[in-house]
């Protein structure tokens, strides 16, 4: 049996769409914003139709072309004259546009033919039929109606698991942003029925915001600035303070929300009025706010009492009151109703989404009577396939706006709409002229901007979606000059006890480039000391060894240059700038010395330090020798011969370098540096694959260990984090960048440790492992801990085991704990 599953709350002020899926309700978000609600408001602007939030923009300027609250006119002969279109718009047509817009909330792969649409309890047959018609006009093939109070009761019943055995009366109290409704519902074990209803179409939460501005904020401003008649001036059509009025309304709304949760709130004012600046705070207590709105709330309670009385019931006949609508978050409402009626007032369901949620539960149980309508889908596919489109736009640009031009043929396309997929831009529905359009679209700087273009017929039905149109901002341009290589900075890799390269600008980036990076000092440099901080900017492969790249900027800041000590762990701010003519500028700011080194280096001042060449060779030689040793042990003599010639070459350079002075002005230094780089590059190329292969192997091992633990039931909750870590695994592995792979291993290890530490039992295997270790720094202490551990193991007291493991780990010899190479301060750049 196929059920309808989809539901729409077609509200007077706001509308929502939801889906029932296997017992759960999914309320869809507006892809162009973050809200689940779509204001039921439409603006007509020349050849453009704007639906929802953005239509409200035109309320002030062009009210006659903005249609809203048309739900109240459903089923009447009343129409809305829209000057921009020079025609009358029927409420049915307007509602159908809102319904179509809600369809856009659904993912592209969802097709909806059947839907439940909610209607107010007050709707008569004609109004109900008008709503159905709007549904069909929006393209639905099957429309089932459901009264809003019933939907709210269903949401309540489904979330609170209550059982109704005898006939009961419930009140549904619906207080929204702009309207107020009360319905008396009869519930028994078989059905829910609306017996009576009443309401006020002109009372809503927005009235409370105005009360706060008028009675609290305006008098405060008047008192502080000496202004008079401010309220009148704010509300006047010709007011010069219109911007201020809206700002104050926003503040009032925020304060109202805060007061639902706290006893008092603070409204911060930072405004300018008639050349007087005011910066002050206004404290609003909940009690004061409640006094302001009390008479309005009492009116709503009177309506409840009336409805009970008119149906010959007593307050005690009402089993419960269910609250819906955003305004019911205000505690005074719940309190006033409970005091006046003396029954349970239930606010357990989400007041904003309760109606659509209840309607979705209903849709999930309501069988669809629609026959499998394959013909419709086929027709659409045919129409889609005959549309031929040609798009013209710059795929890469540095402009903040870009022109998209398109031409179409093959089908009758009347309208189009362009949406930026990150939610930041919507062209609105626009009419197509001569089967083509040209539209400037705004771009997010430095990002890949993806757009979706919808082609629509005259009824705004979607004919085809072109997705994605991608425009890359900032990375490339036809005019700029691209970087031939990565530009990197040499930093200390404390894990590997060596230095490594970190990419600052990627190969292909367009000049000019500027970037600020933040590092921390990896060593302390005392003022006036000989110790130094080295900033080495290198052009070359970012995954290669530092000494294999070309140093295009090398600066040293010595202790004697410092006004204060540079403390390990403090921030170092480095700004790198490469001009179009490839001139490199570096600005360094040392936080702990509060000292800035401006333009300390530029390309024309390039220098090579003999000392640096020597240190680099020393560092790499030990690595070369180690690899030769392993190759010989594996009898891989061809490989070790190649490595040996590199070793000899490096030693020869060292000897030559020792013979020249640092102030030597000949080219020798540069020649030696070139030779050194070449040899180190050869070594890098020879060994990189092996190193990367080892890293990948370790990555896979770590992942397998982690997966074993993740598959245990109690660790289910870590799975999302795990998925997040491995989601770009392919990219990382394919990059063949050992540092990237290593950082992934680190992330996996951190998660692994978190899992292990989440349960005491996981420490048993560690404990047993430590039993095999015999090099504790304090053997007597270790023995004592083992005694405690064995006893705890026997008693299954795993908490003690955890502590014993911590104790024993502290006694493991430092060298065994971190099998690290020596990384002296002299070999460090000082940047971490």
């Amino acid at each position: 049996m196929k059920t309808i599953n989809f539901a729409i709350d077609l509200g007077t002020t706001n509308s929502l769409v939801a889906k029932y899926d296997n017992g759960k309700i999914k309320i869809f978000n507006n892809p162009l914003g973050l809200k689940q609600t779509l204001p039921s408001c439409i603006a007509f602007r020349g050849n453009r139709i704007v639906i929802g939030d953005k239509a409200l923009d035109y309320l002030e300027k062009d009210a006659e072309n903005v249609c809203m609250l048309f739900k109240r006119k459903m089923g009447t002969q009343d129409t809305y004259f829209v000057p921009a279109l020079d025609k009358e718009m029927q409420p049915i047509k307007l509602s159908s546009l809102v319904l179509k817009e809600l369809k856009n909330f659904l993912p592209d792969d969802e097709t909806v033919n059947s839907v439940v649409i909610t209607i107010p309890a007050a709707f008569d047959t004609i109004q109900s039929n008008a709503t159905k018609k709007a549904g069909y006009l929006a393209g639905f093939k099957e429309v089932v109606l459901l009264q809003e109070p019933i939907a709210a009761c269903l949401a309540f019943a489904n979330t609170s698991n209550i059982e109704v055995k005898e006939k009961e009366h419930w009140i549904v109290y619906d207080f929204g942003g702009g309207t107020f409704d009360v319905a008396l519902v009869e519930a028994d074990e078989r059905e829910l029925k609306v017996v009576d209803h009443q309401g006020d179409n002109y009372l809503g939460g927005a009235d409370f915001d105005n009360l706060i501005v008028k009675n609290l904020i305006v008098p405060f401003i008047e008192e502080k600035t000496g202004q008079s008649d401010l309220w009148k001036s704010l509300k006047s059509k010709s007011s010069t303070h219109k911007g201020l009025y809206f700002e104050l309304l926003k503040k009032a709304e925020e304060a109202k929300k805060e007061l639902s949760n706290f006893e008092e709130t603070e409204i911060e004012l930072d405004i300018s009025i008639n050349d007087v600046d005011l910066y002050d705070h206004l404290i609003v207590k909940r009690e004061v706010f409640e006094n302001l709105i009390l008479s309005n709330v009492e009116n709503t309670v009177t309506i409840i009492k009336d409805i009970i009385k008119e149906n010959q019931l007593l307050n005690s006949d009402i089993k419960r009151v269910i609250l819906i609508g955003g305004t019911t978050y205000i505690p005074l409402i719940k309190k006033s109703i409970a005091n006046a009626i003396g029954v349970e007032v239930n606010s357990s369901i989400d007041p904003t989404s309760a109606v659509v949620e209840g309607a979705a539960y209903y849709a999930g149980s309501k069988p669809s009577e629609l026959k499998e309508d394959e013909i419709v889908e086929k027709e659409q596919t045919q129409e889609e396939s005959i549309i031929d489109s040609k798009f013209f736009y710059e795929q890469n640009t540095r402009d903040t706006e870009e022109l998209i031009t398109a031409k179409f043929s093959g089908a009758d396309i009347d309208n189009y709409r362009i949406i930026r997929k990150d939610g930041g831009y919507d062209s609105g529905v626009k009419s197509l002229k001569n089967n083509s359009f040209s539209e400037f679209v705004p771009l997010l700087e430095g990002r890949l901007n993806q757009f979706k273009v919808q082609l629509l017929n005259s009824d705004l039905g979607i004919l085809k979606v072109i997705d994605p149109i991608s425009i890359n901002h900032g990375s490339y341009s036809v005019n700029g000059q691209p970087l031939p290589n990565d530009i990197c900075i040499e930093i200390d890799d404390m894990d590997a006890s060596a230095t490594r390269l970190e990419r600052i600008f990627a190969k292909g980036s367009i000049l000019p480039l500027k970037k600020k990076i933040y590092k921390t000092a990896s060593k302390t440099i005392l003022k006036k000391s000989k110790s130094n901080l080295a900033i080495n900017v290198i052009e070359g492969k970012s995954n290669g060894l530092p000494s294999s790249g070309l140093s295009i900027g090398y600066i040293e800041i010595f202790g004697e240059d410092l006004e204060d000590d540079l403390i390990k762990g403090t921030d170092i701010e480095i700004e790198l700038e490469i001009s179009e003519s490839r001139e490199l500028k570096i600005n360094v700011f040392l936080q702990s010395c509060d000292q800035e080194f401006e333009n300390v280096f530029s390309e024309s001042e390039r220098s090579i330090s003999v000392n640096k060449i020597n240190t680099e060779i020393n560092t790499i030689l030990s690595d070369v020798e180690a690899v030769i040793k392993t190759a010989n042990a594996n009898e891989n003599f061809e490989y070790s011969n190649k490595l040996e010639s590199i070793r000899v070459g490096l030693i020869e350079i060292q000897i030559e370098a020792s013979l020249i002075h640092d102030d030597d002005i000949s080219d020798t230094k540069f020649q030696l540096d070139d030779k050194k780089r070449k040899l180190i590059q050869d070594f890098d190329d020879l060994t990189r694959n092996e190193i990367v292969a080892k890293e990948i192997e370790e990555y896979n091992d770590t992942k397998a260990d982690l997966e074993y633990h993740l598959n245990q039931n109690e660790n289910e909750r870590y799975k999302t984090k795990y998925q997040r870590i491995i989601q770009n695994e392919k990219e990382v592995i394919n990059s063949l960048d050992r540092y990237l792979i290593r950082s992934k291993i680190k992330e996996l290890e951190e998660l692994f440790n978190a899992i292990i530490q989440s349960s005491d039992e996981n420490f048993i295997s560690y404990y047993l492992g430590l039993k095999l270790y015999d090099n504790f720094t304090n053997k007597r202490k270790a023995e004592k801990l083992f005694e405690q551990g064995d006893k705890a193991l026997e008693q299954q007291d795993y908490k003690v085991i955890r502590h014993v493991v911590y104790g024993l780990s502290a006694l493991v010899h430092e060298n065994d704990r971190h099998q690290r190479k020596d990384f002296s301060d002299d070999s460090k750049t000082g940047l971490n």
């Binding site: 704007v50 300027k61 219109k242 911007g243 809206f246 926003k250 930072d270 939610g423 831009y425 705004p442």
Partner: protein, 97 residues
């Protein structure tokens, strides 16, 4: 995290208004941290306002036309970046005049 970004934004706006100007380095540093945490924060102050901008919630005073500008930003625009995917996580709250 969104609320932290908002508070930092408010703090910076306040200091700017009071003419304190030796804090920009600290704010740059914080902005960089937000970037590392994959948040792209935009302050649209002074920008021309277009109705098509769905990343701001605008209170418009006076006529909305080509010259309408964002004159006050109560909350910044925040996007979350995930690889090549960008998604709006907070609309800017602005006053347009």
């Amino acid at each position: 995290m969104i609320e932290i970004i908002n508070q930092i934004f408010a703090l910076e706006s306040k200091l700017q208004k009071n003419g304190v100007d030796d804090y920009s380095r600290n704010f740059d540093r914080i902005a960089n941290e937000f970037k590392n945490l994959n948040y792209h924060v935009i302050n649209p102050i002074g920008k021309s306002y277009r109705n098509e901008m769905t990343d701001v919630e605008a209170s418009i005073s006076g006529d909305l036309n080509k010259n309408s500008k964002i004159t006050k930003v109560l909350k910044p625009i925040i996007y979350e970046v995930n690889g090549n995917e960008t998604s709006l996580v907070q609309k800017g709250i602005v006053i347009v005049e």
